[in-house]
Amino acid sequence: MQTDWGNWGYVALFLLIATGFAFIPLVLSPLIRPRNPNPVKQATYECGIETVGTSWIRYYAGFYVYALVFVVFDVETIFLYPWAVAFGLLNWFALIEMAIFIGILLVGLVYAWKKQALRWW
């Protein structure tokens, strides 16, 4: 089996079947399971203690900083893939270029590091 664009057909089919597969339990289980909800059962679970306030509280913005750094690095990583695959066909100049690229990326990493953006608390 060679790599072939046509193989995506199998992926599409796989997606369909996997979706079906994921839904089968959800469809089957109601047939055999009980269903008698009550308010206590449906209350938000916090180890049995009465819930205080809404679940909307202010979360630590550090989460977002992680996501931010992640996005940037993700994009940069993606840019590396074509280079990696084409590496055998590229000359030393491309190596230098990529070194520059990764160097810039490293500057970002060092910055984030020094700014304590990568520290949890």
């Binding site: 909307w56 931010l68 590496f87 953006a117």
Partner: protein, 165 residues
């Protein structure tokens, strides 16, 4: 049933799905639902790229948009909004005018497209990823490096802005 038919079926499924998803992004009353519709939209666009034989772009689409940008959006929503409110994604006062302008733009675009004919006969090479690598490190090296700097600047800026001082 040849390859073209499969492509056509896939296209129409994806096209309808994408338009619906895009509409859902705009129309759903809860911002988080909009964001999830956006995820669906991104995913379908990846499918569209596969149809266009841009497999690498499709993968990038999923990795960047579904895996990264969406997370950013979801985090932002969860960090800022009272996202559980039933009307967290309302329209503003100018929605009618916005609709008119959008429809006008659509009409303009469609009219322009309708008058335009395109040359045919394009072929995407099989080893597209390798060629992309050669292109990006060859003629497009400058945008490539600038993209790196842009991302660096974006990261630095975003960290400075987002951090709680």
């Amino acid at each position: 049933m040849n390859a073209d038919s499969y492509v056509a079926i896939a296209f129409w499924i994806l096209a309808i799905g994408m338009v619906l998803a895009a509409y859902a992004v705009v129309a759903l009353p809860r911002i988080i639902h909009s964001a999830l519709a956006l995820v669906l939209f991104f995913f379908q666009i990846a499918g569209l790229y596969v149809l266009l034989r841009a497999e690498f772009i499709a993968a990038v689409q999923v990795i960047i948009y579904v895996g990264a940008v969406t997370v950013l959006f979801l985090f932002a929503i969860m960090l800022t909004n009272r996202s559980y409110a039933p009307d967290s994604n309302p329209a503003n006062r100018q929605w009618i005018a916005a609709g008119v302008v959008s429809l006008g733009l659509l009409g303009t675009l469609l009219a322009t497209l309708g008058r335009q004919t395109w040359p045919t006969g394009g072929q995407v090479p099989a080893n597209a990823t390798v060629l992309l690598g050669q292109l990006m490190l060859g003629p497009f090296i400058l945008p490539f490096e600038i993209a790196a700097i842009l991302l660096l600047v974006a990261m630095v800026g975003a960290i400075v802005i987002a951090r709680e001082s």
